[in-house]
Amino acid sequence: MGEKQDIKFTVEFLGGLDMLFRSSKEELSMPTKDELSGERLVLSHLIQALADDGNRIRKPGTDRKLFVQEDNTVRPGILVLINETDWELEGEEKYEIQDGDHIIFVSTLHGG
Protein backbone atom coordinates (compact mmCIF):
# COMPACT_ATOMS: atom_id res chain seq x y z
CA MET A 1 0.00 0.00 0.00
CA GLY A 2 3.04 2.23 0.24
CA GLU A 3 2.91 2.48 -3.57
CA LYS A 4 2.58 6.18 -4.42
CA GLN A 5 3.88 6.69 -7.94
CA ASP A 6 1.78 8.38 -10.60
CA ILE A 7 0.83 7.16 -14.04
CA LYS A 8 1.42 9.60 -16.91
CA PHE A 9 -0.74 9.37 -20.00
CA THR A 10 -2.24 11.47 -22.80
CA VAL A 11 -5.92 12.28 -23.17
CA GLU A 12 -7.25 13.71 -26.40
CA PHE A 13 -10.70 15.14 -27.17
CA LEU A 14 -11.95 15.01 -30.76
CA GLY A 15 -15.12 15.44 -32.81
CA GLY A 16 -16.18 18.62 -31.03
CA LEU A 17 -15.43 17.40 -27.48
CA ASP A 18 -12.47 19.78 -27.51
CA MET A 19 -15.10 22.52 -27.06
CA LEU A 20 -15.73 21.14 -23.55
CA PHE A 21 -12.10 21.02 -22.45
CA ARG A 22 -9.27 23.47 -21.94
CA SER A 23 -7.41 22.11 -24.93
CA SER A 24 -7.78 19.26 -27.34
CA LYS A 25 -4.84 17.31 -25.88
CA GLU A 26 -3.72 17.01 -22.26
CA GLU A 27 -0.82 15.24 -20.58
CA LEU A 28 -2.29 13.88 -17.36
CA SER A 29 -0.74 12.39 -14.29
CA MET A 30 -2.89 10.41 -11.85
CA PRO A 31 -2.10 8.19 -8.85
CA THR A 32 -1.61 4.51 -9.63
CA LYS A 33 -4.31 3.66 -7.09
CA ASP A 34 -7.59 5.44 -6.55
CA GLU A 35 -7.47 7.35 -3.26
CA LEU A 36 -10.93 6.37 -2.09
CA SER A 37 -11.30 2.79 -3.21
CA GLY A 38 -7.64 1.79 -3.24
CA GLU A 39 -8.32 0.21 -6.64
CA ARG A 40 -5.82 0.30 -9.49
CA LEU A 41 -6.50 3.26 -11.81
CA VAL A 42 -9.02 2.21 -14.48
CA LEU A 43 -10.84 4.13 -17.19
CA SER A 44 -13.98 4.68 -15.08
CA HIS A 45 -11.85 6.60 -12.56
CA LEU A 46 -10.50 8.82 -15.33
CA ILE A 47 -14.00 9.44 -16.72
CA GLN A 48 -15.28 10.36 -13.26
CA ALA A 49 -12.31 12.67 -12.70
CA LEU A 50 -12.95 14.42 -16.03
CA ALA A 51 -16.66 14.76 -15.18
CA ASP A 52 -16.01 16.06 -11.64
CA ASP A 53 -13.15 18.10 -13.04
CA GLY A 54 -10.79 17.91 -10.11
CA ASN A 55 -8.05 18.48 -12.70
CA ARG A 56 -9.74 21.69 -13.88
CA ILE A 57 -9.30 20.82 -17.51
CA ARG A 58 -12.96 21.31 -18.42
CA LYS A 59 -13.89 24.76 -19.66
CA PRO A 60 -15.75 26.83 -17.08
CA GLY A 61 -19.50 26.74 -17.55
CA THR A 62 -19.58 23.60 -19.69
CA ASP A 63 -22.28 21.04 -18.94
CA ARG A 64 -21.05 17.67 -17.64
CA LYS A 65 -24.10 16.09 -19.29
CA LEU A 66 -22.45 16.65 -22.67
CA PHE A 67 -19.72 14.23 -21.50
CA VAL A 68 -21.26 11.78 -19.03
CA GLN A 69 -24.68 10.42 -18.08
CA GLU A 70 -26.16 10.51 -14.56
CA ASP A 71 -24.32 7.31 -13.62
CA ASN A 72 -20.93 8.73 -14.71
CA THR A 73 -20.68 6.55 -17.80
CA VAL A 74 -19.76 8.33 -21.04
CA ARG A 75 -22.86 9.55 -22.87
CA PRO A 76 -24.11 7.74 -25.98
CA GLY A 77 -22.36 9.00 -29.09
CA ILE A 78 -18.89 9.17 -27.54
CA LEU A 79 -16.36 6.51 -28.48
CA VAL A 80 -13.43 5.80 -26.18
CA LEU A 81 -10.23 4.70 -27.87
CA ILE A 82 -7.20 3.21 -26.13
CA ASN A 83 -3.98 3.34 -28.12
CA GLU A 84 -5.83 3.44 -31.46
CA THR A 85 -8.22 0.66 -30.47
CA ASP A 86 -11.94 0.75 -29.62
CA TRP A 87 -12.21 0.33 -25.84
CA GLU A 88 -14.77 -2.45 -26.36
CA LEU A 89 -11.83 -4.63 -27.38
CA GLU A 90 -9.85 -3.63 -24.25
CA GLY A 91 -12.28 -4.13 -21.36
CA GLU A 92 -14.11 -0.80 -21.50
CA GLU A 93 -14.27 1.10 -18.19
CA LYS A 94 -12.42 -1.69 -16.37
CA TYR A 95 -9.30 -1.18 -18.51
CA GLU A 96 -6.28 -0.50 -16.27
CA ILE A 97 -4.53 2.61 -17.53
CA GLN A 98 -0.83 2.04 -18.31
CA ASP A 99 1.99 4.53 -18.23
CA GLY A 100 2.27 6.19 -21.67
CA ASP A 101 -1.24 5.28 -22.79
CA HIS A 102 -2.97 7.43 -25.39
CA ILE A 103 -6.67 7.74 -24.65
CA ILE A 104 -9.04 9.46 -27.09
CA PHE A 105 -12.60 10.55 -26.41
CA VAL A 106 -14.27 11.23 -29.72
CA SER A 107 -17.82 12.37 -30.29
CA THR A 108 -19.55 10.90 -33.29
CA LEU A 109 -20.35 13.42 -36.02
CA HIS A 110 -23.58 13.54 -38.00
CA GLY A 111 -23.05 16.37 -40.46
CA GLY A 112 -22.59 15.85 -44.15
Binding site: G16, L66, R75, P76, G77, T85, L89, V106, H110, G112
Partner: protein, 300 residues
Protein backbone atom coordinates in the same frame (compact mmCIF):
# COMPACT_ATOMS: atom_id res chain seq x y z
CA UNK B 1 -31.86 -4.53 -61.95
CA UNK B 2 -29.43 -2.02 -63.46
CA UNK B 3 -28.46 -2.08 -67.09
CA UNK B 4 -25.69 -4.60 -67.92
CA UNK B 5 -23.16 -3.91 -70.64
CA UNK B 6 -20.37 -6.14 -71.83
CA UNK B 7 -17.79 -6.20 -73.35
CA UNK B 8 -16.27 -2.72 -73.35
CA UNK B 9 -16.44 -0.62 -76.44
CA UNK B 10 -13.33 1.25 -77.62
CA UNK B 11 -14.45 4.56 -76.10
CA UNK B 12 -14.58 2.92 -72.68
CA UNK B 13 -10.95 1.88 -73.03
CA UNK B 14 -10.10 5.48 -73.83
CA UNK B 15 -12.09 6.97 -70.95
CA UNK B 16 -11.13 4.44 -68.29
CA UNK B 17 -7.65 3.53 -69.53
CA UNK B 18 -5.84 5.13 -66.59
CA UNK B 19 -7.68 2.96 -64.11
CA UNK B 20 -7.89 -0.16 -66.29
CA UNK B 21 -4.10 -0.54 -66.34
CA UNK B 22 -3.99 -0.75 -62.56
CA UNK B 23 -3.60 -4.33 -61.33
CA UNK B 24 -6.27 -3.85 -58.64
CA UNK B 25 -8.88 -2.71 -61.14
CA UNK B 26 -7.87 -4.30 -64.41
CA UNK B 27 -9.18 -7.75 -63.59
CA UNK B 28 -12.67 -6.42 -63.11
CA UNK B 29 -12.62 -4.59 -66.41
CA UNK B 30 -14.60 -1.57 -65.35
CA UNK B 31 -17.47 -0.75 -63.02
CA UNK B 32 -20.06 -0.71 -65.82
CA UNK B 33 -21.98 -3.54 -64.15
CA UNK B 34 -21.87 -2.03 -60.68
CA UNK B 35 -24.57 0.06 -59.00
CA UNK B 36 -24.14 2.38 -56.04
CA UNK B 37 -26.72 4.41 -54.11
CA UNK B 38 -25.63 7.78 -52.71
CA UNK B 39 -27.96 8.92 -49.91
CA UNK B 40 -27.57 12.67 -49.42
CA UNK B 41 -26.17 14.94 -52.16
CA UNK B 42 -24.57 17.55 -49.92
CA UNK B 43 -21.00 18.10 -48.77
CA UNK B 44 -20.21 14.36 -48.74
CA UNK B 45 -22.45 13.19 -51.55
CA UNK B 46 -21.21 15.72 -54.13
CA UNK B 47 -17.54 14.65 -54.23
CA UNK B 48 -18.45 10.99 -53.62
CA UNK B 49 -20.82 10.95 -56.61
CA UNK B 50 -18.36 12.88 -58.79
CA UNK B 51 -15.61 10.26 -58.38
CA UNK B 52 -17.98 7.28 -58.68
CA UNK B 53 -19.39 8.72 -61.90
CA UNK B 54 -15.91 9.60 -63.14
CA UNK B 55 -14.82 6.01 -62.51
CA UNK B 56 -17.73 4.80 -64.60
CA UNK B 57 -19.93 3.02 -62.05
CA UNK B 58 -22.71 1.79 -64.33
CA UNK B 59 -25.71 2.90 -62.27
CA UNK B 60 -25.70 5.63 -59.64
CA UNK B 61 -28.78 6.37 -57.54
CA UNK B 62 -29.11 9.78 -55.89
CA UNK B 63 -31.35 10.42 -52.86
CA UNK B 64 -32.02 13.91 -51.47
CA UNK B 65 -35.17 15.89 -50.72
CA UNK B 66 -33.55 19.33 -50.45
CA UNK B 67 -33.05 22.13 -52.92
CA UNK B 68 -29.73 23.89 -53.58
CA UNK B 69 -29.08 26.94 -51.38
CA UNK B 70 -26.33 29.51 -51.77
CA UNK B 71 -24.90 28.54 -48.37
CA UNK B 72 -24.29 25.01 -49.73
CA UNK B 73 -21.98 26.09 -52.53
CA UNK B 74 -18.75 26.55 -50.57
CA UNK B 75 -18.60 22.77 -50.11
CA UNK B 76 -21.21 21.13 -52.39
CA UNK B 77 -19.18 21.34 -55.56
CA UNK B 78 -21.59 19.64 -57.96
CA UNK B 79 -24.13 22.43 -57.57
CA UNK B 80 -23.80 25.94 -58.96
CA UNK B 81 -24.90 29.50 -58.39
CA UNK B 82 -27.24 29.29 -61.38
CA UNK B 83 -28.97 26.21 -59.96
CA UNK B 84 -29.84 27.66 -56.54
CA UNK B 85 -33.45 26.63 -55.88
CA UNK B 86 -33.29 23.48 -58.04
CA UNK B 87 -33.58 20.09 -56.30
CA UNK B 88 -30.16 18.80 -55.30
CA UNK B 89 -30.71 15.54 -57.14
CA UNK B 90 -31.57 17.33 -60.38
CA UNK B 91 -28.70 19.80 -60.01
CA UNK B 92 -26.21 17.01 -59.34
CA UNK B 93 -27.42 15.11 -62.39
CA UNK B 94 -26.70 18.12 -64.61
CA UNK B 95 -23.07 18.21 -63.43
CA UNK B 96 -22.61 14.43 -63.39
CA UNK B 97 -24.08 13.87 -66.85
CA UNK B 98 -21.72 16.45 -68.25
CA UNK B 99 -18.78 14.65 -66.59
CA UNK B 100 -19.77 11.18 -67.79
CA UNK B 101 -22.84 10.71 -70.00
CA UNK B 102 -22.37 6.92 -70.01
CA UNK B 103 -23.59 6.46 -66.45
CA UNK B 104 -27.24 5.60 -65.80
CA UNK B 105 -28.64 7.90 -63.10
CA UNK B 106 -31.62 7.03 -60.93
CA UNK B 107 -33.10 10.13 -59.26
CA UNK B 108 -34.82 9.85 -55.87
CA UNK B 109 -35.64 13.52 -55.20
CA UNK B 110 -37.17 13.08 -51.76
CA UNK B 111 -36.06 12.55 -48.18
CA UNK B 112 -35.35 8.90 -47.32
CA UNK B 113 -38.35 7.48 -45.42
CA UNK B 114 -38.56 4.25 -43.43
CA UNK B 115 -41.52 2.85 -45.39
CA UNK B 116 -39.74 3.20 -48.77
CA UNK B 117 -36.10 2.65 -47.77
CA UNK B 118 -36.06 -1.09 -48.57
CA UNK B 119 -37.56 -0.60 -52.02
CA UNK B 120 -35.16 2.26 -52.70
CA UNK B 121 -32.00 0.37 -51.62
CA UNK B 122 -32.90 -3.03 -53.12
CA UNK B 123 -31.40 -2.68 -56.63
CA UNK B 124 -27.94 -1.47 -55.54
CA UNK B 125 -24.70 -3.32 -54.80
CA UNK B 126 -23.75 -0.96 -51.99
CA UNK B 127 -24.80 2.24 -50.27
CA UNK B 128 -23.03 5.47 -49.28
CA UNK B 129 -24.38 7.27 -46.22
CA UNK B 130 -23.81 10.97 -46.96
CA UNK B 131 -26.68 12.19 -44.77
CA UNK B 132 -26.70 14.66 -41.91
CA UNK B 133 -28.92 13.53 -39.01
CA UNK B 134 -28.70 10.62 -36.55
CA UNK B 135 -32.24 9.44 -37.36
CA UNK B 136 -31.43 8.99 -41.05
CA UNK B 137 -28.11 7.33 -40.22
CA UNK B 138 -29.86 4.61 -38.16
CA UNK B 139 -32.43 4.14 -40.94
CA UNK B 140 -29.74 3.80 -43.62
CA UNK B 141 -27.79 1.27 -41.55
CA UNK B 142 -30.82 -0.83 -40.60
CA UNK B 143 -31.92 -1.00 -44.24
CA UNK B 144 -28.44 -2.11 -45.34
CA UNK B 145 -28.37 -4.83 -42.67
CA UNK B 146 -31.82 -6.13 -43.67
CA UNK B 147 -30.87 -6.23 -47.36
CA UNK B 148 -27.29 -7.48 -46.88
CA UNK B 149 -25.57 -4.48 -48.49
CA UNK B 150 -22.21 -3.06 -47.36
CA UNK B 151 -22.43 0.54 -46.19
CA UNK B 152 -19.78 3.25 -46.54
CA UNK B 153 -20.64 5.79 -43.85
CA UNK B 154 -19.00 9.18 -43.40
CA UNK B 155 -19.71 12.35 -41.49
CA UNK B 156 -18.11 15.74 -40.93
CA UNK B 157 -18.44 18.83 -38.77
CA UNK B 158 -16.27 21.94 -38.50
CA UNK B 159 -12.71 20.65 -38.98
CA UNK B 160 -13.39 16.97 -38.16
CA UNK B 161 -14.47 13.96 -40.18
CA UNK B 162 -15.15 10.25 -39.64
CA UNK B 163 -15.37 7.27 -41.99
CA UNK B 164 -16.43 3.65 -41.44
CA UNK B 165 -17.17 0.75 -43.77
CA UNK B 166 -20.06 -1.03 -42.04
CA UNK B 167 -21.81 -4.36 -42.53
CA UNK B 168 -18.78 -5.64 -44.43
CA UNK B 169 -18.96 -8.47 -45.21
CA UNK B 170 -22.76 -8.10 -45.27
CA UNK B 171 -23.57 -11.45 -43.68
CA UNK B 172 -27.15 -12.21 -42.55
CA UNK B 173 -28.46 -11.10 -39.15
CA UNK B 174 -26.94 -13.28 -36.43
CA UNK B 175 -23.90 -14.31 -38.47
CA UNK B 176 -20.80 -13.28 -36.55
CA UNK B 177 -18.68 -13.34 -39.69
CA UNK B 178 -20.43 -10.14 -40.77
CA UNK B 179 -19.00 -6.71 -40.09
CA UNK B 180 -20.51 -4.45 -37.41
CA UNK B 181 -23.42 -2.16 -38.25
CA UNK B 182 -24.02 1.44 -37.16
CA UNK B 183 -26.01 0.20 -34.15
CA UNK B 184 -23.14 -2.06 -33.05
CA UNK B 185 -20.93 1.02 -32.80
CA UNK B 186 -23.63 3.38 -31.50
CA UNK B 187 -26.32 1.27 -29.78
CA UNK B 188 -28.03 4.33 -28.31
CA UNK B 189 -28.52 7.65 -30.11
CA UNK B 190 -26.69 10.66 -28.72
CA UNK B 191 -28.70 13.08 -26.55
CA UNK B 192 -30.31 15.55 -28.99
CA UNK B 193 -28.66 18.55 -27.30
CA UNK B 194 -25.24 17.11 -28.16
CA UNK B 195 -26.00 16.86 -31.89
CA UNK B 196 -24.63 19.75 -33.92
CA UNK B 197 -25.42 20.15 -37.62
CA UNK B 198 -23.16 21.73 -40.22
CA UNK B 199 -25.64 24.59 -40.33
CA UNK B 200 -25.23 25.29 -36.63
CA UNK B 201 -21.59 24.33 -36.09
CA UNK B 202 -20.07 25.28 -39.42
CA UNK B 203 -17.96 23.18 -41.73
CA UNK B 204 -14.77 23.67 -43.73
CA UNK B 205 -15.40 22.67 -47.35
CA UNK B 206 -12.26 20.57 -47.93
CA UNK B 207 -12.84 18.66 -44.66
CA UNK B 208 -16.16 17.26 -45.77
CA UNK B 209 -14.74 17.04 -49.29
CA UNK B 210 -11.93 14.71 -48.22
CA UNK B 211 -14.39 12.45 -46.41
CA UNK B 212 -16.68 12.29 -49.47
CA UNK B 213 -13.85 11.41 -51.85
CA UNK B 214 -12.71 8.70 -49.43
CA UNK B 215 -16.25 7.27 -49.53
CA UNK B 216 -15.94 6.93 -53.30
CA UNK B 217 -12.58 5.23 -52.81
CA UNK B 218 -13.93 2.74 -50.25
CA UNK B 219 -16.84 2.01 -52.60
CA UNK B 220 -14.41 1.27 -55.43
CA UNK B 221 -12.34 -0.96 -53.13
CA UNK B 222 -15.51 -2.87 -52.22
CA UNK B 223 -16.49 -3.18 -55.89
CA UNK B 224 -13.12 -4.66 -56.81
CA UNK B 225 -12.25 -6.58 -53.62
CA UNK B 226 -8.95 -7.75 -55.01
CA UNK B 227 -5.78 -7.84 -52.99
CA UNK B 228 -3.29 -5.05 -53.66
CA UNK B 229 -0.42 -7.26 -54.78
CA UNK B 230 -0.64 -8.20 -58.42
CA UNK B 231 0.65 -11.63 -57.47
CA UNK B 232 -2.44 -12.33 -55.36
CA UNK B 233 -5.33 -12.13 -57.75
CA UNK B 234 -7.91 -13.87 -55.59
CA UNK B 235 -10.54 -11.82 -53.79
CA UNK B 236 -9.19 -10.50 -50.51
CA UNK B 237 -11.04 -10.97 -47.23
CA UNK B 238 -12.82 -7.87 -45.92
CA UNK B 239 -10.56 -5.46 -44.04
CA UNK B 240 -11.05 -5.68 -40.26
CA UNK B 241 -13.59 -3.10 -39.06
CA UNK B 242 -12.01 0.28 -38.53
CA UNK B 243 -12.84 3.92 -38.01
CA UNK B 244 -10.89 6.63 -39.79
CA UNK B 245 -10.79 9.83 -37.76
CA UNK B 246 -9.83 13.08 -39.46
CA UNK B 247 -9.04 16.30 -37.68
CA UNK B 248 -7.72 19.12 -39.87
CA UNK B 249 -5.85 20.95 -37.10
CA UNK B 250 -4.57 17.90 -35.18
CA UNK B 251 -1.23 16.22 -35.70
CA UNK B 252 -1.45 13.67 -37.25
CA UNK B 253 -4.55 14.64 -39.24
CA UNK B 254 -5.64 11.05 -39.79
CA UNK B 255 -5.98 8.20 -37.25
CA UNK B 256 -7.10 4.63 -38.02
CA UNK B 257 -8.88 2.99 -35.11
CA UNK B 258 -9.47 -0.74 -34.76
CA UNK B 259 -13.20 -1.13 -34.20
CA UNK B 260 -15.34 -3.67 -32.37
CA UNK B 261 -16.95 -6.60 -34.21
CA UNK B 262 -20.71 -7.28 -34.33
CA UNK B 263 -22.37 -6.83 -30.95
CA UNK B 264 -24.00 -10.06 -29.69
CA UNK B 265 -27.16 -8.17 -28.70
CA UNK B 266 -27.33 -5.63 -31.55
CA UNK B 267 -30.92 -4.58 -32.25
CA UNK B 268 -30.24 -4.71 -35.99
CA UNK B 269 -27.65 -7.36 -36.91
CA UNK B 270 -27.68 -9.97 -34.11
CA UNK B 271 -29.77 -13.15 -33.62
CA UNK B 272 -31.78 -11.08 -31.15
CA UNK B 273 -32.48 -8.35 -33.73
CA UNK B 274 -35.74 -6.49 -33.17
CA UNK B 275 -35.45 -4.57 -36.43
CA UNK B 276 -37.31 -6.41 -39.18
CA UNK B 277 -38.21 -5.62 -42.76
CA UNK B 278 -41.91 -5.70 -41.80
CA UNK B 279 -41.43 -3.20 -38.96
CA UNK B 280 -39.50 -0.91 -41.26
CA UNK B 281 -41.92 -1.07 -44.18
CA UNK B 282 -45.01 -0.68 -41.99
CA UNK B 283 -43.57 2.51 -40.51
CA UNK B 284 -43.78 1.19 -36.94
CA UNK B 285 -40.15 2.18 -36.29
CA UNK B 286 -40.10 5.91 -35.53
CA UNK B 287 -36.49 6.98 -36.10
CA UNK B 288 -37.13 10.62 -35.35
CA UNK B 289 -38.66 9.79 -31.97
CA UNK B 290 -35.87 7.25 -31.28
CA UNK B 291 -33.26 9.99 -31.71
CA UNK B 292 -35.35 12.70 -30.04
CA UNK B 293 -35.19 16.34 -30.96
CA UNK B 294 -34.26 19.63 -29.39
CA UNK B 295 -34.98 23.22 -30.22
CA UNK B 296 -31.97 24.94 -31.79
CA UNK B 297 -31.54 27.31 -28.82
CA UNK B 298 -30.73 24.43 -26.46
CA UNK B 299 -28.14 22.88 -28.75
CA UNK B 300 -24.47 22.84 -27.84
Amino acid sequence: PPMRRWPLDPRDYKRYGRQLIMPEIGLQGTFLNASVLVVGIGGLGCPAAAYLVGAGVGTVGLVDGDVVEESNLHRQILHSTGRVGMSKVESAMVALTSLNPNVKFVPHPSRLASDTAIATFQPYDLVLDCTDTPATRYLVSDTCVLLGKPLVSASALQSDGQLMVLNNPPSPQGDNAGGPCYRCVFPKPPPPESVVSCGDGGILGPVVGVMGVLQALEAIKLLTKVAPEPSRMTPAPADPPSLLIFSAYANPMFRSIRLRTRKPKCAACSVQASITAEALTSGSLDYVQFCGSVSPVDAL
